[in-house]
């Protein structure tokens, strides 16, 4: 019984498993299995059960493939865990490239190395508790600022905005963040200045806005002098010279997610006139 069930499951899985290359750019759903290119070649012509004999049967030169967000490793295949479009990036040197799922969500899960905007909620002893939008507040030590020593404490109050990056972020431990890089320099991290407006958007929009060739940011930058800070946890902080300009900017950034490029250009031209 058990054998029959397992064989049936394998057949079903075999029917549904598609090659990763053939699905690039298409929508994938959680539960799908994807075959990597080398496996595709092996299973394609010999699908009937006969496998062509290869000379180097033992020495398979497999390249390391990285499965990014939305994918998990399942034996030799990739298992999709989020719905979205499958993307691939060719490797720079060595390796087999990166596969990931371009999904959309509002809830942020802390990831190591991400730069985020946090709000200081509590100050207890030597650490600050910073709310980053995850399941737990992250901890930030007062020594993790540039030029901070035991005598020279940073000037951080409850309610301040902090731009920092995670050093520890996994599902088993409380996330920890710092405001310096590995060399000890701030590189723009630390307390974000006075005034301005903080608002929340979806995570996908942040990634879209931070893409190297994003037109929205280029057009926004031509309107008037302003400053923006993007946090990977879906939070954006903007500041302009007057409150009205700040609010206009916030509205544009929130709305541009659902606008087509034509609508956006219309709005920008109207703004440029006024």
């Amino acid at each position: 019984m058990a054998e029959a069930a397992s064989v049936a499951a394998e057949c079903l899985a075999g029917c549904r498993a598609r090659g990763a290359r053939s699905v690039l750019g298409q929508v994938v759903l959680p539960g799908e299995e994807l075959l990597l290119p080398e496996q595709e070649d092996a299973e394609g012509p010999g699908g009937a059960g006969e496998r062509p004999l290869s000379l180097n049967a033992g020495a398979r030169s497999r390249v390391r493939v990285i499965c990014g967000p939305g994918l998990r490793r399942c034996g030799d295949r990739l298992l999709v865990t989020k719905c979205g479009r499958l993307r691939h990036k060719e490797p720079g040197g060595g390796g087999g490239g990166v596969y990931w799922v371009d999904s959309q969500q509002k809830r942020y899960v802390p990831v190591k190395g991400d730069h985020v905007i946090g709000i200081v909620t509590a100050k207890s002893g030597d650490i600050f508790k910073v709310d980053v939008g995850g399941s737990e507040p992250a901890s930030l030590s007062y020594l993790s600022f540039e030029g901070a020593t035991k005598r020279n404490r940073p000037n951080v109050q409850v309610g301040d905005l902090i731009y920092g990056q995670f050093v520890v972020a996994n599902k088993d431990m409380e996330p920890e963040m710092v405001c310096i890089d590995s060399c000890g320099r701030a590189n723009g991290m630390g307390v974000i200045g006075q005034d301005g407006l903080l608002f929340k958007v979806t995570l996908g929009l942040i990634r879209k806005l931070l893409a190297p060739d994003c037109e929205i940011i280029q057009e926004v930058g031509k309107l008037y002098p302003l400053e923006i800070v993007f946090g990977m946890n879906g939070r954006i902080w903007v500041k302009a010279k007057t409150i009205q300009q700040t609010l206009i900017l916030a509205n544009i950034l929130e709305a541009c997610e659902h606008m087509t490029s034509d609508q956006r250009k219309q709005i920008f031209s109207r703004l440029a006139e006024s």
Binding site: L36, R62, V63, R64, V65, I66, C67, G68, P69, L71, R72, R73, D76, L78, R87, K89, G92, G96, V98, W100, V109, V111, K112, G113, D114, H115, Y163, N187, G188, R207, L210, A211, P212, I217, V220, G221, K222, Y224, P225, L226, E227, I228, V229, F230, G231, M232, K239, A240, K241
Partner: protein, 142 residues
Amino acid sequence: MQRGLDSETKKQLEEEEKKIISEEHWYLDLPELKEKESFIIEEQSFLLCEDLLYGRMSFRGFNPEVEKLMLHMNAKHKAEEVEDETVELDVSDEEMARRYETLVGTIGKKFARKRDHANYEEDENGDIQPIKAKKMFLKPQD
């Protein structure tokens, strides 16, 4: 009368104790699974996937420090992709080597005493050689 046990009996007792302890240990009664080396690495970060720009931005001179940072961070990011081109040298390596060769001599000459100046004028080619050996006191033979 012998106090204590023989060494043999001691060893036997120790072995028996070890057996008892090792039998009490729990172990999994499964067949040995062959560990397959996996060629797939799992990463949860988007930094590897997409080249994202630096998160702080300033436009039209609102915050000059941030604008400098933007140039620095985005240029660094691009420089990592394009492998570093060799910086054009103002002075070639050969010239540097030649200069250093003579430099050692000239600076050394400055600190040499009058008697050591003789060592510096020996070479015919014009290259200055460093001091060979310091003259020590020679005890006179009687």
